[in-house]
């Protein structure tokens, strides 16, 4: 009898659970329709957000590029038609001396911040000096600035420590946006990391001149922007833009199909495939983004990663297989840390697998049995699932006798580990900050103090620094191209950064969304978007 009652209770519980599930599904639907209503006014973007800060001089992430471009204007913009040509933004005119050491910008007199105050040369000076002084990840963009003169309120003269032919491209990076000095300083902003206290304020407020202002930010949930009603240029079409945290590509696709969001731009090939929902447009475009393997010979556990072993690892990888496994073939293999299409990459031999040569190199290095540990973030970026990619790497390395133990960790754990002990083998991703190849040399090259020279603790190669300086000083594009090609080859020979896959980007949006372009500097320019 008791058992019978227990069974009845179980059945009843099952019915209740099923009812709750149905209610939950129903709730989801009504939630979607609620979103549909708001979508008539607002643009909703589903994104897996990697925001580290909303402080314009501290932020450094893919989502930050979108945010900063929308809220903080740069002096120069990038023509969305070719992703190459610089166009006026805050500056109407710009020029440089023949030595590429002095750059002069004339600000648009109409340019004003969201509170109505004009954008002045003093604001530019403060912003760039703050970017340099805070020494964050994007500070390298301003590190070559020796001084900034402001002869009048509309003229900015930036003097470099040495010739820098990449400076105009760097100015176009979203991290070089201009913040309103008086507002920022009132909230504790300074140009020195030790005294600056404004980061918290920037999480809830903004002080830019862009077509949008920050309405609110809920960490791990959403970034809400509202149209800058006082914008001095062509006003944005959307009164509100919401970037909604949507971790995985599957959910992004489902929300887009249901009409709960307007844009999803992190779909993988497998998820984007066979997407034939009504009123949704999917476009596949080449990108400069890539996922790479990093080998750190100078850290604990990486001692065996000698130049020969690193070269053997490079030869052991099945690049075509990696492309197939990670993005279903929708992308390209990339030989050097400078992506295909950037200056200096023409004619570089594509990476190819050579197991026999890899084995020979390992034997030559006296390596008979090698076991390495790979700690990498559990990410799915640009449609590449890191776990899948690393399992493929593991299989490829096994073929040459290298055992790779995989240790996926949360990105925060990864960040803490890479910055302290270092990680012998890892994987990460990179999207360009601007259109000049120098950024890759500065970030991935083994120049003393570069990001990856620091992380890998590999012996510094000052000759890369010399080559970069020559490229900065080069008078012609051809000369610069030749020097960057040498640098690309040098970084390939370093063997600490091995690009795995350069995936295509899927731009998926409701069919009525217009103006969606992939930007090489800024990811997605929200001001270009409209509905209709």
């Amino acid at each position: 009898m008791r058992a019978g009652r227990a069974r009845s209770v179980r059945i009843l519980s099952g019915i209740v659970a099923a009812g709750l599930l149905a209610a939950a599904c129903g709730g989801g639907k009504s939630g979607s329709s609620g979103n549909n209503v708001s979508a008539q006014q607002a643009l909703i973007i589903a994104r897996s957000m990697d925001i580290n800060s909303l402080d314009p001089q501290r932020a450094y992430c893919d989502t930050c590029q979108i945010y900063l471009t929308a809220v903080y204007e740069t002096l120069l913009g990038l023509d969305p038609k070719d992703n190459k040509t610089l166009v006026p933004r805050l500056a109407t005119k710009w020029s440089s001396n023949s030595a590429q050491t002095e750059f002069t910008f004339t600000l648009n007199p109409k340019a004003k911040f969201a509170d109505g105050k004009p954008v002045t040369s003093a604001d530019v000076k403060f912003s760039w000096e703050r970017l340099k002084g805070l020494a964050g990840s994007a500070s390298y963009l301003a590190s070559g600035i020796a001084s900034i003169a402001t002869p009048d309120a509309r003229t900015v003269v930036a003097t470099m420590t040495q010739p820098n032919s990449a400076f105009l491209a760097q100015v176009n990076a979203s991290y070089m946006g201009v913040v309103e000095q008086s507002v920022a300083e009132a909230k504790g902003a300074t140009t020195a990391a030790a005294t600056d206290k404004a980061e918290k304020w920037f999480l809830a407020n903004s002080a830019g001149s862009g077509p949008f202002t920050l309405a609110s930010y809920k960490s791990g949930q959403e970034v809400r922007l509202k149209r800058n009603a006082a914008y001095w240029g062509t006003k944005a079409a959307f009164p509100e833009v919401v970037m909604k945290q949507t971790a995985d590509a599957v959910t992004q696709r489902q929300q887009l199909e249901q009409g709960a969001v307007d844009i999803a731009m992190q779909l993988s090939t497998d998820v984007a495939k066979n997407m034939n929902a009504k009123n949704v447009t999917v476009r596949k475009v080449p990108s400069f983004n890539y996922v790479y393997l990093a080998l750190s010979p100078g850290v604990k556990g990486g001692e065996a990663l000698t130049p020969d072993v690193r070269k053997a690892i490079r030869l052991a990888l099945d690049y075509k297989g990696l492309l197939d496994v990670t993005v279903g073939g929708a992308g390209r293999s990339q030989p050097s840390p400078i992506p295909n299409g950037f200056l200096g990459t023409d004619g570089l031999a594509p990476p190819a697998r050579d197991v026999a040569q890899a084995k020979r190199l390992l034997a030559q290095a006296g390596v008979t049995k090698l076991s390495l540990s790979a700690t990498y973030p559990t990410l799915n970026v640009y449609g590449v699932d890191f776990s899948t990619a690393m399992q493929k790497v593991q299989t490829d390395l096994k073929a040459v006798g290298i055992e790779l133990k995989l240790n996926p960790v949360e990105i925060s754990v990864w960040a803490s580990k890479i910055g302290t002990d270092g990680i012998p083998v890892t994987a990460l991703y990179f999207a360009p900050d601007h259109t000049d190849p120098s950024q890759y040399v500065q970030y991935f090259g083994l120049m003393p103090g570069s990001q990856w020279q620091t992380w890998t603790k590999a012996p510094a190669r000052p000759q890369e620094n010399q080559l970069l300086n020559q490229a900065f000083a080069a008078k012609s594009v051809n000369e610069r191209g030749a020097l960057y090609k040498q640098l690309a080859q040098a970084m390939m020979d370093d063997g600490v950064i091995i690009p795995l896959v350069n995936p295509d980007l899927y731009l998926a949006a409701r069919s009525d969304i217009k103006g969606m372009h992939y930007s090489a500097c800024c990811n997605l320019d929200l001001s270009q978007l409209s509905r209709g």
């Binding site: 058992a3 496994v325 559990t378 776990s387 899948t388 690393m390 299989t395 996926p408 949360e410």
Partner: protein, 292 residues
């Protein structure tokens, strides 16, 4: 004169008189879930023990194109790396079942030790130990297991430690209550009265009469531990890639959501193991539980 028969008098005796074959049939029906459970559990155990001898493919190596639909060549299709999902499901038993076994055995051992001490000695020993149990049980098991595993670092060994630390209080509380009830029985008090040592009394007269609920619970919990192991792996705290662990495989299935077969195989495997052990535990309870 017509003889009348009072049906109200006759009916009960008619109902009670059930044929032997009907009784047998009812008994067989009642035992059916137990048999199903037994077959499932024994089946998976045999698979776990012998799969290296007859495995259709290498669970870690690609055997064909990626994301192939189920076919004769690949009964459950292939995953994103071109590995045979069916083979990986079979090999998954070699992680899930041993882990669950170790967790249950270790939890029963630890829980029994604490529960027996608390129940038998009573007083402050009971108060202290049961408060520890209360504190541990105040947290939802999955959350506590996650917290412990995350603090120790991801990996199946640490997940195992986390699960043991979450699971032992269940047995401690159960055994403490049983021991408390048994130790007041006459035969135990008689043993104490004639001078038997505490250890002897506990071992010979108390524990044998207290263990049934623990055994039943442990059997039913086996499936739950398999589920918890899979849950920890699903959120990245358990098995490391490329281990063919069921929870980790379901995560891969979630990434490849539109290729249903990747998650379906391990999902059904987990379902069957949980059901199997539940059926078995139910049957064991019906047969052994003193309350029934």
């Amino acid at each position: 004169m017509t003889a009348t028969v009072d049906s109200t008098v006759l009916t009960p005796s008619v109902v009670n008189v059930e044929s032997r074959s009907e009784q047998g049939s009812r008994s067989r029906r009642a035992r059916l879930p137990a048999y199903i459970g037994l077959v499932i559990v024994v089946g998976w155990t045999v698979v776990a023990a012998t799969v290296p001898l007859w495995s259709p493919n290498d669970p870690l190596a690609p055997v064909g194109a990626r994301l192939l639909e189920p076919s004769r060549a690949h009964l459950l299709g292939t995953d994103a790396l071109g590995r045979d999902v069916f083979t990986r499901v079979l090999w998954g038993t070699r992680t899930s079942l041993p882990v669950a076994f170790v967790v249950i055995v270790a939890s029963v051992a630890l829980g029994s030790l604490v529960g027996a001490a608390a129940g038998f000695f009573g007083g402050w020993v009971d108060a202290v130990l049961m408060r520890v149990v209360d504190i541990t049980m105040a947290f939802p098991p999955i959350l506590l297991a996650m917290a412990i595993t995350a603090s120790l670092g991801p990996g199946i060994r640490n997940a195992l430690i986390g699960m043991v630390l979450v699971w032992w209080p269940i047995y401690a509380r159960l055994l403490a209550a049983q021991v408390q009830s048994v130790r007041r029985r006459d035969h135990v008090e008689s043993a104490v009265a004639i001078g038997a040592s505490r250890w002897l009394v506990l071992r010979r007269y108390v524990l044998p009469l207290s263990y049934t609920p623990v055994l039943v619970n442990a059997t039913m919990d086996f499936g739950q531990v398999v589920l918890l192991t899979a849950s920890l792996s699903f959120i990245g705290l358990g098995a490391r890639p490329p281990s063919p662990e069921w929870g980790a495989m379901i995560t891969e299935g979630a990434t490849n959501f539109y290729n249903w077969w990747i998650a379906a195989g391990p999902g059904v495997a987990i379902l069957s193991v949980v059901l199997g052990f539940n059926f078995l535990g139910d049957a064991l309870r019906d047969r052994l539980d003193v309350r029934d």
